[in-house]
């Protein structure tokens, strides 16, 4: 028994899991967690790729888009300057201008008429264009016509020292377009302008001796730059060849030093776009340089703004990812449950088998896979085990029965011999009545012992058997033995293993009372106690010393006791059978003191209907 438990314990002991998967309580959660983890990783990778791809695409698209716009703006500005050049060439090539400025031998009337015609031409131009502040022709000889004729050049500055004048003079084409500057040349005019200047040639000597210029305000350029939206915050600005700002939507802030653009980086940049700045101030510059004006048109877009749109995409991605994950979790949950169902069935069935219930253990084979064949094998296996167990049980039963039969057959031949001897003596002495009693008791005894082959009998039957036995023994021992039977009828119908009491009584007589000098008393009692049925065989014989008590339940105990005869049915056998039937908490216990007597107590289960706790 103990050994079997040890084995069981060893089998149930768990070894440390060899992999992470071993730590889970069920295959289903293992599968679910692994599926989920895999999916999370997959979704994250997808998310990263998608996001960076979108980022990249957004940047690329923005750069493409702004590049197109910037090129268009550049083209428009070139066209605008072309247009202004055309106007300038009309004025510069007009005979009136040449004559008025350079012809010295003319009458005042001719001068006045030429002046009138030039002024009216200026007026027409000024009226048709809102973007011209000043329009003027100036000759080195001091003659000039400015706007409506009222304005004059300032006396504090020599116009020939001004950059835009010199530039036009130096130009092979005779045309120059200035950067942004304040027009200081005209008296009391302090406007910021862009000047388009064109040299005038004195036809008499072919020298460049005068200049025509128009001062453009920023309305047209600002229109061109702001016509196209590049994002909510994006804007377009223009730099000249030296990197000075020609136009910027926040030019005043630039001039005040309150705003800066990364101009040096732009000027050094070779490609047509440029990323600059950090964090919220990070910008994308898209560049386009004009061959005509030498200006660089720059489109600036805030990265943060692009990413703001991207943010919505990100949220969408995240929601999709979350949805996917949720879906996966649900599906993997279902899937793992379905996949592992046969395994769980197998496990449940195995625990049923563990409890010894083979009948319910069979499982229907529903799958064609490994689990299916496992189930099939399992079914075959438990069937065979079941068969073996049944066989074993049957064999054990047979064995016990034959053992019992052997016991039954083992009624001490000495006892029989002695009893028969007694009968002979009694009949010789003419004690007929006694002979009848003894003979009938002996007959009853034998009948009872072989009457049935049940392993258990009622307590009542067992008592009757003992009574028959004691009747004989009383007649043999006469005055040496006195006995009483006090059994509560309530336990008469409790089942008890056959031949439990008789060996105890026999022992009490042969090992207790027989060796006593005077008369011995034997008491057999039966009663209910604490949910058990208790039978007590008590004698006031010689008792046992501790050494004997210690060995009383050993198989060969009786045989070791020197000088005592054994009937072959040891207490060991009785005890073994009792415990086999009723469990370890039942059986025989002995109390004994040398010289005072011995008490054997038999505890057997009491059926529930009689108040038992079984």
């Amino acid at each position: 028994m103990v050994e079997q438990k040890e084995t069981e314990k060893r089998l149930r002991e768990e070894k440390k899991p060899e992999s992470v998967f071993g730590k889970f309580k069920s295959i289903q959660s293992t599968m679910m967690v692994s599926f989920s983890l895999l999916m999370i990783v997959a979704v994250l990778i997808f998310l990263l790729i998608a996001l960076s791809y979108t980022n990249g695409t957004i940047y690329e698209n923005t750069i493409n888009y702004t590049s197109q716009i910037i090129r268009q703006v550049n083209y428009d500005i070139d066209a605008y300057m072309d247009y202004m050049e055309n106007i300038s060439s009309v004025v510069a090539k007009s005979g009136d201008v040449a004559r008025y400025l350079f012809e010295e031998e003319q009458t005042d009337t001719e001068y006045r008429e030429e002046r009138e015609r030039i002024l009216s031409q200026f007026q027409t131009i000024m009226e048709s264009r809102g973007d011209i502040y000043n329009i003027a022709v100036v000759a080195e000889n001091g003659k000039s016509i400015i706007n409506g004729g009222e304005e004059e050049l300032t006396e504090y500055i020599d116009i020939r020292t001004l950059a835009w004048y010199q530039e036009a003079m130096a130009s092979t084409k005779g045309i120059a377009i200035s950067s942004s500057h304040v027009q200081n040349a005209i008296k009391s005019c302090y406007k910021w302008v862009i000047t388009l200047s064109r040299t005038l040639i004195n036809n008499q000597n072919g020298e460049k001796e005068g200049i025509f210029f128009v001062d453009l305000n920023y309305s047209a350029i600002s229109d061109l730059c702001n016509r196209n939206n590049i994002g909510n915050k994006g804007y377009v600005f223009i730099l000249d060849e030296e990197g000075n700002v020609v136009y910027h939507p926040k030019q005043q802030l630039m001039y005040g030093g309150l705003l800066t653009e990364n101009i040096s980086e732009i000027m050094e940049c070779d490609s047509d776009y440029l990323l600059t700045g950090e964090g919220r101030e990070s910008k994308i510059y898209t560049l386009s340089k004009s061959e005509k004006t030498g200006w660089t048109v720059v489109g600036a877009v805030y990265s943060a703004e692009l990413l703001k749109n991207n943010k919505q995409a990100q949220i969408l991605y995240l929601l999709v990812a979350a949805g996917l994950l949720l879906g996966t979790l649900i599906v993997s949950n279902r899937l793992s449950r379905v996949i592992t169902r046969p395994i769980r069935q197998l496990r449940d069935s195995m625990s049923t088998v563990e409890e010894g219930e083979f009948d319910k253990a069979g499982i229907a084979v529903t799958m064609q896979n490994e689990i299916g064949s496992l189930t099939r094998s399992f079914n075959v296996m438990i069937e065979r085990i079941h068969l073996l167990v049944e066989q074993n049980r049957y064999e054990q039963e047979q064995k016990r029965k034959s053992e019992l039969r052997a016991l039954q057959a083992q009624i001490n031949p000495h006892f029989l011999y002695n009893t028969l001897d007694s009968i002979i003596w009694m009949s010789e002495a003419g004690q007929n009545e006694e002979v009848v009693v003894m003979t009938s008791a002996l007959a009853r005894l034998f009948r009872q012992s072989i009457s049935n082959d049940q392993e258990q009998v009622f307590v009542e039957q067992e008592i009757e058997y003992v009574r028959s036995y004691l009747t004989i023994q009383k007649m043999r021992y006469q005055d040496k033995l006195e006995y009483s039977l006090e059994v509560d009828p309530a336990i008469f119908h409790v089942m008890i293993v056959k031949f439990t009491l008789q060996p105890l009584v026999e022992n009490a007589i042969y090992h207790g009372i027989k060796w006593k000098e005077n008369k011995g008393n034997l008491t057999i009692r039966g009663y209910k106690d604490q949910g058990k049925a208790v039978l007590v065989v008590e004698d006031d014989g010689v008792g046992m010393d501790e050494e004997t008590q210690k060995h009383i339940f050993e198989e060969k105990a009786e045989k070791k006791v020197e000088g005592r005869l054994s009937n072959g049915v040891g207490i060991f056998n009785v005890q073994k059978r009792l415990q086999l039937y009723y469990g370890p908490e039942y059986g025989i216990s002995y109390q004994s003191k040398p010289g005072e007597g011995t008490r054997a107590v038999v505890k057997i289960p009491l059926p529930e209907r009689l108040g038992g706790n079984v």
């Binding site: 406007k191 305000n217 939507p249 005043q252 005040g256 309150l258 949220i315 995240l318 449950r337 769980r344």
Partner: protein, 339 residues
């Protein structure tokens, strides 16, 4: 029996797991949305600012430029700004009334260019007491209650002008100062700066007159001053009104070139007078920057960023020689309004 029971248990534990997961995901989604919306909302918050100028005089280049700066600043920072003020710098009562009126409008911040060093303090205290952020522009008051003050360092500007004037002094200099409004911090600081800049010649200052920020008054005071001190050969104007008024008087009296003239600020007329040679130098402030930086400080204060207690918007000495330099042209002529 046992199979069924276990099935139930399984079902429960699974559903609880699923429930936790679901709730977790839902929570995360809601959180993300909330964060997203919050940042959107923060971005969309528009602050209301009111700027009370010393004067709304449209002819005054300094104040129009400062207002431009403030308005552009407000646009740049996505705030709304209202500008109010009296037509005269001397109307202190009027300005106090305007400030009080502004408090009633419950703006997020009030920017003020106080007309007086002491008299506006009471009402500005009220501004602060109403939980409105106060930013001072151009001038200061006798209490330290503003979140930030954005101004020219008037003492340094005066000192620079004084030092330059010293290099122009002839033998036996006789100096007169035409100041603007008595009691304003700017007038006091500039005068002190000029005195320190002049150094030992400070004692040659015969008189300081106050024109109350009026061209006419400055003109008449200058004429009187020149009559009173016929040998006066240096005149210093402490703001646009004083400098222009004095210069006009000098020009009209035919004393151009004989009286050395320097002054503060840069109206078109002042630049012309500089070109003409009536002024030898002007020290210009950066009113546009002042307005812009004032708004910036207000917004910084409202958005919980670090605010600088004193911001120097800077100044620059302009003479006939450096007048046409690109950098100075940018400071002298406002670009705004030309697009």
């Amino acid at each position: 029996m046992s199979v069924g029971e276990e099935g139930m248990k399984d079902w429960w534990s699974k559903n609880r797991k699923k429930g936790i997961l679901l709730t977790g995901i839902a929570l995360a989604a809601v959180l993300a949305l909330v964060v997203f919306l919050r940042t959107e909302m923060v971005r969309e918050q528009v602050f209301h600012l009111i700027f009370i100028s010393k004067t709304m005089d449209p002819e005054n280049g300094f104040w129009t430029s400062l207002i431009d700066g403030a308005e552009l600043g407000a646009k740049e920072f996505g705030a709304e700004i209202q500008v109010a003020g009296e037509t005269s710098e001397e109307n202190i009562e009027g300005q106090i009334a305007k400030i009080r009126e502004s408090i009633g409008k419950q703006p997020d911040a009030i920017l003020v260019a106080p007309c007086d060093y002491a008299e506006t303090s009471e009402v500005l205290q009220e501004v602060v007491d109403h939980g409105i952020r106060l930013i001072l522009l151009d001038s200061v008051i006798d209490r330290d209650i503003a979140e930030s003050t954005v101004s020219t360092d008037n003492y340094l500007a005066g000192q620079e002008l004084g030092k330059y004037t010293r290099t122009l002094l002839k033998e036996e200099p006789v100096i007169g100062i035409v100041a603007h409004v008595k009691g304003t911090s700017t007038a006091m600081e500039r005068e002190n700066g000029i005195r320190d800049g002049l150094g030992t010649f400070e004692k040659e200052i015969r008189e300081v007159v106050f024109c109350g920020s009026s061209y006419e008054k400055a003109y008449h005071l200058t004429v009187e001053l020149l009559e009173k001190y016929p040998d006066m050969n240096v005149l210093i104007g402490t703001n646009e009104y004083s400098a222009v008024g004095a210069a006009r008087a000098v020009r009209d009296l035919g004393l151009a070139g004989k009286v050395t003239m320097v002054g503060f600020d840069n109206s078109v007329e002042q630049i012309q007078l500089l070109e003409e040679g009536i002024f030898q130098a002007i020290i210009i402030q950066k009113p546009f920057n002042m307005g812009y930086l004032g708004v910036e400080q207000a917004i910084r204060s409202l958005t919980g960023k670090k605010v600088e207690k004193n911001v120097d918007s800077g100044c620059k000495l302009i003479t006939k020689e450096n007048l046409y330099e690109e950098e100075n042209q940018r400071l002298l002529y406002p670009f705004s309004g030309q697009q």
